[in-house]
């Protein structure tokens, strides 16, 4: 795939599963997930959480990395999606991507959190596709565009389903950077909660207590040693029958 406009692009299962946690109604979530039938599951790769020191170093590294792509363009995109601004009705400054540490949060999503490899690749590859599109339309990479040109460019890619999915992915991480516990790298001092008059809970996790750092589960032997390979049974499950979901049981 070379651009957001590739005709062969199909929204992958990881995106459907994620984009759907928004739905508060488990039944509508269920209906939505069913429409993903036929897609294959992607196994998550093993994760090696970084130590606290490594994480600190990785954030220092981010300050260098954001001068070059992909982080250079990702930062410019996040800043455009959620600009810092003054409220029209009060003197209050509403926090943007910079104030909520959106780039640092996204960096942790890619380097610290156990995010699926396919998703990480999609985020990174999107930078190339965005710059390709900016170059073809405006003759410059994305970061060099004016605010107006950036707007036109992002609107342009949002008309493709891959582009829309890429922007949705970044927006979902903006929400997490704004509203997740600060230990994950965003929402410093609860700035997002304050802006939205939301009361955060307590106690909050600290580094070392985040969802991927909780005590581990029992392992199966094949997670430790190599397992004997058994012949694969042929499937008896229906796979390609055209289905009409029954609304109700008679």
């Amino acid at each position: 795939m070379k651009s957001f406009f590739d005709k062969n692009y199909q929204t992958p299962l990881w995106f459907r599963k994620k984009s759907d946690y928004k739905s508060e109604d488990p039944q509508s979530r269920r209906q939505f997930l069913k429409s993903a039938a036929g897609a294959t599951a992607i196994a998550a790769l093993p994760v090696m959480p970084l130590s606290a020191k490594q994480q600190e170093q990785s954030l220092i590294q981010l300050n260098k990395l954001k001068k070059i792509d992909p982080w250079l363009t990702l930062e410019a995109t996040l800043l455009h999606l959620l600009p810092e601004s003054k409220s029209a009705v009060s003197a209050e400054v509403s926090p943007g991507a910079k104030s909520i540490n959106a780039l640092a949060y996204l960096y942790q999503v890619v380097t610290v959190q156990p995010t699926e490899e396919d998703e990480k690749k999609f985020i990174i590859k999107g930078v190339g596709w965005l710059n390709g599109f900016a170059q073809s339309q405006q003759g410059k990479p994305f970061v060099q565009l004016s605010v107006e040109q950036k707007e036109v460019t992002l609107r342009g890619i949002s008309n493709s389903s891959a582009g829309s999915n890429w922007l949705s992915t970044l927006l979902a991480y903006i929400f997490e950077a704004m509203l997740a516990p600060p230990a994950y790298g965003g929402n410093p001092d609860g700035i997002g909660w304050r802006w939205l008059e939301h009361q955060g809970g307590f106690p909050l996790p600290k580094a070392g207590q985040r969802y991927f750092e909780l005590p581990t589960r029992g392992k199966a032997k094949d997670q430790i040693t190599i397992r004997e390979i058994e012949p694969i049974k042929s499937s008896t499950r229906y796979t390609n029958v055209p289905l009409i979901k029954r609304a109700n049981k008679a």
Binding site: A36, F175, G200
Partner: protein, 575 residues
Amino acid sequence: MNKINYDICIVGSGAGASPVAYTMAKAGAKVLVLEKGPWLTEKEFFKDELAISIHDAYNPKLSDEQHVIEEEYEDEEGNAFWQGEKTSDSGWSWWNGTVVGGSSNFMSGYFHRLKPIDFRLKSEFGAIKGANIVDWPIRYDELEPYYAMVEREVGVSGRVVEHPHQEPRSTDFPYPPVDEVPMSSWIDKAANKIGYHAVPVPRAVLSQPAMGRRSCEYSGYCSSYGCSSGAKGSGRAALLNHAIATGNCTLKPNAKVYKIATDNAGKITGVHYYDAQGRQQSVRAKTYVVACQAVETSRLLLASTGGKFPNGLANNNGQVGKNLLFSAGGTGSGDFIYDQLNEQQVNELKVVGPFVNRALQDWYRIDDKAFTGANAKGQAKGGTIDFLFHQNPIARASGTQWGIDDEGEDKLLWGEELKQSIKQEFTTYKTLRFEVFNDWLPTDDCFVALDDEVTDKWGDPVAKVRIGFHEHDLEVGKYLSVKAEKLLLALGAKNISSSVSSYPSTNLMAGGCRFGNDPKTSVLDKNCQAHEVDNLYVTDGSFMPTGGSVPYTFTIYANAFRVAEHIKQQWLKKA
């Protein structure tokens, strides 16, 4: 063969398991608890939306452990057939808290008792075509002392009020009600105005420190979150900690039981499990208890085949896994728009921390000839309606990125448009929600079997669950939702809506190993002992032949205390 080292071995550690461990350890018996998940304490529960809902961190990854869910479809010729889908493909997790204490760590703790009519549903309302309704082999008054015991030992905070559907009680609540938000009194007034009775919800949350546990700290994040103060009455905080303190109870976390082995005479020879490192281990006891939550309990019995039990342990009459139950019903909501309220009302609405704590049970027994689901006498079993606020902010923000463009098409928002959209979502209104709980009628189309292809990470067949429902459940759910919507209207809420669905509530499950007097139609006797195996008991929600119209945890606790008393008496006789 291993020596017998324990008086009793309990598989699982949640609401069905912990009362048995507690009762037997206090009586002096040597108890072993085997739990598949890790052992977390108050120190490892946080108000972390990423852990609880977005990444489901207290449950197994679906690629490691999953279910196969069978739904009914029809082909182009109109022929019905059932087809399974792996939950690793659908993303629909059926796990409810795979840690020590199980799902009781994450419950809302609405502790409504069943009512006398729930024990004799068939006698009260008659048969319904297509539903396997039976009366229970025990009456309400046999369980009542154990409801009172749970209120004391697990800790239930509440307040008795007279109302038309109040069940008989031998005692008052041992703890005063938990704090309530100011708007709870709005519900009382509105209910009164339209002739409803708003009932304070008994809650398995301590309103004051007791039994070595702290009081509720009112963080505002309770339902689906683990409790860090110990106030929530999980099996772990309320019972297992005390069981272990006796010195008589050993708890092995990360121990996944895969088979209960039997000899050719049908006698249990041991429980086989994988330890934390995946090594096969086995253990023997004089008495065995299975309480892994309904689906997994049936799965373990079905997987435990032996010479005398070719179809699974205690399953020679083909009853294991059958008549699985969920909670039928639905959800609804209404919005309170700040612009339309005065300052004091808005401030009252914005209070976060205490509980709404109101329920309606006016239609626990429906007496309405106009109701299409009623019997010839115009009666039907109804249910319970509970009110609540949601608090998760990331879930609330999600969706604000969608707007409508000039042509009426969906448009992704960003920049100032997005900021306005988020700000409006969070600061201009508040949504009051309700949940309807009514009976999920037992049918031949709702059961647990073993899948013949899909295995878990240890190589054992996963549970396959067929989730057929009875049309009657939807009729009752809709009837109750309309009643709940009327209360929202009386409250002045806007954008009122509700949705009743045939999909099961996977956090509310029971049945699969019915108790009853006839071995041909039930797995367990009235003491929840297997008809076919002398020293095997099932003490989770699996025993329930019909489910009632309240969340299950309270009744699971009460029944497990009842069965624990029976096991204790048997043990004392032999000792």
